[in-house]
């Protein structure tokens, strides 16, 4: 039985704005799923609809096998970690964590056990009697998580929980959250606009755009086999080039004629390849899928050097290449080969 199942969810706000369209999402128990997409794509709206703060305009939501489509937040077996943390400022750390169980009338002994256990798990025993504003951002984040977990919810909903932390702390806290999730085994739905966060943390990533789900898959799948131009572009870096299908995997592109291992589907609009998928070859090499160009720009990145290469076609933007080891200088002529199995086809338009 799925932890959470949303079917055909759409959301139209009072002002007539349609923020969600046809959302289908099934989350298995213990799974960590991220909702990834640019700002304004409807992630928070979806999360709040799942939590019960918004009524879905159409569709049904089941949590733990029970239909909760019409239930208010307090009647759903979910707990939310807010972007702002939303800690009660005049309650201590311990009182904040104990708030939910206390409201629910959990027996005192049980409440104490939960509190002590959670304080230990989020490593805040030394701060139990402090007010939230005496804590660092990372500590406040952990209080918010502990407060949500104290409800023993079936599903924990996170809304960009790391966006108020600085970059370094963010990486640490995201590892803590993931470790805690594995230890306790709660089901998590996690909203972020940061693709590296999504790839690093998730069992599965749900990529959203304009209120719709573009693609759902494991991080590796999303990265290696993007299905739409938007996903390819949003996750990592991608070169997207329009093409004409010549049949049998042969395509005509502004970069020249190429052969792909797998022929394009009927609705494909671009070929897509990752900057690190190329191999530099001798200028004179005559083999298939070799593209020639001039290095316009070069940025050393440590592990690799990023090249921006201008190819024959003027309308086409610069192609991005990642080259390990010695890289050609600016202005140099280069030739590079794309492996036939590294050429993928994606559908949809570029935004």
């Amino acid at each position: 039985m799925a932890s959470l199942a949303a079917k055909g969810i759409s959301k139209v706000f009072e002002d007539g704005f349609q923020a969600l369209t046809d959302i289908d999402l099934v989350v298995e128990p213990g799974e960590f799923v991220t909702l990834l997409g640019p700002s304004g794509c409807g992630k928070t709206t979806l999360l709040k609809t799942l939590a019960g703060f918004y009524d879905a305009t159409t569709g049904t939501i089941e949590i733990g096998g029970t239909d909760v489509t019409a239930a208010p937040p307090e009647k759903r077996d979910t707990a939310m970690c807010f972007q702002s943390y939303a800690l009660f400022p005049h309650l201590t750390v311990a009182e904040n964590i104990d708030f939910g169980p206390r409201q629910a009338g959990v027996p005192k002994a049980e409440r104490r056990d939960r509190l002590e256990g959670l304080l230990r798990q989020v490593d805040l025993e030394a701060h139990r009697d402090k007010l939230p504003n005496r804590l660092s951002g990372g500590q406040q984040q952990r209080v918010a998580l502990a407060r949500a977990l104290a409800m023993r919810p079936a599903v924990v909903l996170f809304d960009e929980p790391l966006s108020n932390l600085d970059a370094k702390l963010r990486e640490q806290v995201r590892r803590e959250i993931r470790a805690l999730q594995k230890e306790i085994g709660f089901t998590a739905i996690y909203v972020t606009h940061d693709q590296s966060e999504a790839l690093a943390m998730s069992d599965r990533v749900v990529v959203m755009q304009g209120g719709r789900i573009d693609q759902v898959g494991r991080p590796e799948e999303i990265y290696a086999r993007p299905e739409t131009a938007f996903v390819a572009d949003f996750i990592g870096a991608a070169n997207l080039v329009p093409f004409e299908d010549m049949g049998g995997g042969r395509v005509k592109t502004p970069l020249g004629d190429l052969r792909a291992a797998v022929p394009p589907a009927g609705n494909a609009t671009f070929i897509c390849w990752r900057p690190e998928d190329v191999e530099l070859v001798e200028a004179g090499a005559a083999s298939e899928n070799v593209i020639r160009g001039v290095v316009r720009d070069r940025a050393y990145q440590g592990a690799h050097t990023e090249l921006h290469v201008a190819t024959g076609d003027a309308d086409l933007g610069l192609q991005r290449l990642h080259v390990a080891g010695a890289a050609p200088a600016e202005g140099a002529e280069v030739a590079f080969r794309l492996g036939a199995d590294q050429i993928r086809f994606v559908r949809g338009a570029l935004t």
């Binding site: 939590a51 703060f53 307090e74 707990a79 807010f82 702002s84 939910g100 409201q103 504003n133 409800m151």
Partner: protein, 293 residues
Amino acid sequence: MVSLSDTAPVASRRPRRPAFRRFTISNVLIAILLLVCVIWLVVPFGMAVLWSLLDPSVRWEYPDVLPPALSFARWIEVWNTTSLPMALRNSYILAPTVAVTTLILASPTAYAFARYDFPGKGAAQVLTLLPLVIPGFVLAIFFSALIFSLGIYSRFLSILLAHSVLFLPYAIRLMTVAFSNVRLDLVDAARDLGASPWARFRVAYWPALAPGILASLIIVFIQSIEEFAVAFVVGAPNFTTIPSILYSYLGYNFVRPNAAVVSLVLVIPNVLLMLGLERLLKSANPAQTGVKG
């Protein structure tokens, strides 16, 4: 005064700092502010105290800097010969009632101003400030006519109504700010954690509202205690308040020491309340002190 204690440790930590650094704009402004405070508050207040304690047997005239003899005789005289005890009772029943009534009347409007956007909101907000620009006597004269034609003959009720209208702008302003300080994420969090409506109010609304409620109560209370025009026009002669007695000392039977006594009776509780208000506001909201992480 805060600035004085602030600058002291800085000066002692850096003894070789050149003296002209003390003449920063803010220091000069604070010095001017202190001076204004002294001229406008301390001097008149001190004079009132001295005048009220002037012994009836002596006169205080030029060139005496201080009164020649002091006693509580004026206080006793005023207490025994005027209706001050009655006026005190009236004022201190009226003002708290006005304060509470105004708060109750202001809250729904303030909530709407803070929470909702609606067409004409700007105009509505200006409209609620209107009572501030109407002179008290103008309001008093027409209000009394209105009240009698409505068949309300209770002086207390009439003044209560008039004061509530008069001081509504303060309460609406303060409560609008208070309601917009309520953090919606806290309301959502409390709900998500299964809080009952009462628990939600206590944990998400009350901490943000409390300072505004207190400020509104105290400010309206003080305004009502000190208001003369309406209280006099509508209330006199049956319903006396403290300012009515004070004003009766102006004009032909002007007795400065007695006026000083009544002034102090009027002002001292207000000053204490204001000081208490400041303390309450400081301690009311832990979220506004301390560091953000």
